[in-house]
């Protein structure tokens, strides 16, 4: 670490270098940004990561497939359920197991709930990044409602561990459908309030419009996925392109903008919350009957080969690349985590803007640090 700092100061001694992080209110975790400034203007941002590198990929090599679930939970803890789904789907695909419809529908509903709660937390912290502290509490207040649903069905609030290869850990709670419907009814009323508080606000417009523009070409070249990529016009919704679970049987639209600035990254996420509610409403009344899991062998061994599974988490495309040598432990697991890739564009889009914009841009990319470090 020492050496890295030294390099930068000797190369660019003329610049005013500040260290944002590892403990900084706007980096949402232990991300360290070495920012070179000229006055208030950002010249260069170098992310330094690895403060919570836990070696999840290495750990996966010594545990069995069902046990990987509890590690993927802890990568992107805000879309824990979707991460788990990726591993489960690839194991199921490798074993060519047919998953009951009930599981598919429940997984989809849970994924969309996860997406909504992730976007709520993002909205909360994005508002806080811009200085509107009240947003933080409104976002968390509404997120709590989803977390309660999770807690009732899965037993835990954030790190749900609800998926397992072959289906789900347990069936949904009898109250699940009613609670979800109540939440949708409540949140449809609350979401316009978010708009009144932040989206329509003239200060917010000034702060976000035209800030941190990311062109379509750069978005594809950098591989920026998720709402951040779609705000630039990169059609990258895995739910549309490679439908998994129950996404092939529902009608929803991919939110696409072409501007690619902070404001549209913001709007894309707000719109996605509406869209997620539509998806849930289509499914919540038609959960088919059936078993909630397929009986799997006690020790799951994947046939030799390579398996790649992509899912759409709340932040973008998560890829799980499993190389199996036929044992009960995977030979190599690679997680293509969306945040890791999204972080790489920060220098490109933030340089030239003011330091306050850097905070806004960082917030609009919606980075979750444990997913970057893994």
């Amino acid at each position: 670490m020492e050496e890295k700092v030294k390099n930068i100061t000797t190369d660019e001694q003329q610049e005013y270098v500040i260290n944002m992080g590892p403990q900084h209110p706007s980096t949402h975790g232990v991300l360290r940004l070495v920012v070179s400034l000229k006055g208030e203007i950002v010249k260069n941002v170098q992310p330094h990561i690895g403060y919570i590198h836990r070696g999840i990929e290495k750990m996966c090599e010594s545990i069995t497939y069902p046990q990987i679930i509890h590690l993927t939970d802890r990568m992107d803890y805000l879309s824990a359920h979707i991460n788990n789904e990726a591993v489960c789907l690839s194991v199921e695909k490798a074993l060519e197991v047919d998953i009951p419809d009930r599981v598919k529908v429940i997984r989809t509903i849970m994924s969309e709930l996860t997406r909504i709660q992730s976007h709520q937390l993002w909205w909360a912290s994005f508002g806080m990044d811009l200085g509107g502290l009240t947003c933080f509490f409104y976002g968390l207040r509404d997120r709590e409602k989803i977390l309660d649903i999770f807690e009732e069905t899965c037993g835990s609030r954030m790190i749900v561990s609800y998926n397992c290869p072959g289906g789900l850990m347990y069936d949904i709670h009898p109250n699940f459908q009613k609670r979800v419907k109540d939440f949708i009814k409540y949140f449809r009323k609350i979401l316009p309030e978010y708009d009144q508080l932040l989206t329509g606000n003239v200060i917010f417009h000034e702060r976000s419009k035209g800030i941190g523009k990311l062109s379509l070409k750069d978005a594809i070249s950098y591989g920026i996925t998720g709402p951040s990529g779609r705000a630039s016009g990169f059609s990258c919704d895995v739910r549309k392109h490679e439908p998994y679970s129950a996404y092939d049987r529902i009608i929803f639209k991919e939110i696409l903008f072409t501007e690619g600035d902070t404001y549209h990254r913001y709007v894309a996420r707000i719109e996605e919350m509406w869209e997620s509610m539509n998806i849930i409403e289509q499914l919540i009344d038609n959960i088919p009957d059936g078993p909630f899991a397929v009986k799997m062998k006690p020790i799951i061994k994947l046939p030799e080969g390579e398996y790649y599974q992509r899912v759409e988490t709340a932040r973008g495309e998560l890829g799980v690349y499993i190389i199996s040598d036929g044992n009960k432990n995977p030979y190599r697991v690679k997680f293509r985590s969306p945040n890791f890739v999204n972080l790489s564009v920060l220098n490109q889009i933030a340089s030239g803007f003011k330091i306050a914009d850097l905070v806004a841009i960082g917030g609009s990319l919606d980075l979750v640090i444990p997913d970057i470090d893994r």
Binding site: G155, S156, N201, V202
Partner: protein
């Protein structure tokens, strides 16, 4: 002239958008009924966790101090981070056979990630999740628990 009108429009719309935001916060200010804060230590008595809540792993015992754990060790194998350790002993049953039985079911709460694999895979449903969540202790050693009570025995009929 047009630029002046635009200038004034900008001001009026700007102020209007700010007023809308103030309406939201102001309306909550005058509606204390919407407060969501839980007075946690005060509402401890009537705070009920959901029945599936994963607070800690316990081994339910019946009134005769019997449990269902056969000491097979499947939970130990399935635990991803080694928080369960089974110490077994061999006992002689009534009909004279030698049998493996549980001596100590050691559960390290501090290492547990609540993935529920042990509870799910247990063939005899011997362990379950309890709802307690107040686990803070001053000594780490207190987080290592022995789940089977002293002097407890295997329930009859459980293999």
């Amino acid at each position: 002239m047009r630029s002046i009108i635009n200038y004034l429009k900008e001001i009026v719309f700007g102020v209007w958008s700010l007023m809308k935001g103030m309406k939201v916060t102001g309306s909550y200010f005058f509606r204390p009924g919407t407060i969501v804060t839980q007075k946690y230590p005060n509402n401890r008595k009537d705070l009920v966790m959901f029945d599936r809540f994963k607070g800690e792993v316990v081994m339910p015992h019946n009134e005769k101090n019997e449990h269902k754990c056969t000491g097979c060790g499947i939970c130990e194998i399935n635990c991803p981070n080694g928080s369960i350790e089974i110490i077994s002993k061999s006992i002689v049953t009534e009909d004279g056979k030698k049998k493996r039985a549980i001596d100590k079911h050691i559960y390290r709460l501090g290492m547990c990630t609540f993935c529920a694999l042990c509870v799910k895979t247990c063939p005899s449903n011997a362990i379950a999740f309890a709802q307690g969540f107040e686990h803070a202790v001053f000594n780490r050693a207190l987080l290592i628990k022995t789940l089977n009570k002293p002097g407890s025995q295997l329930m009859k009929g459980v293999e």
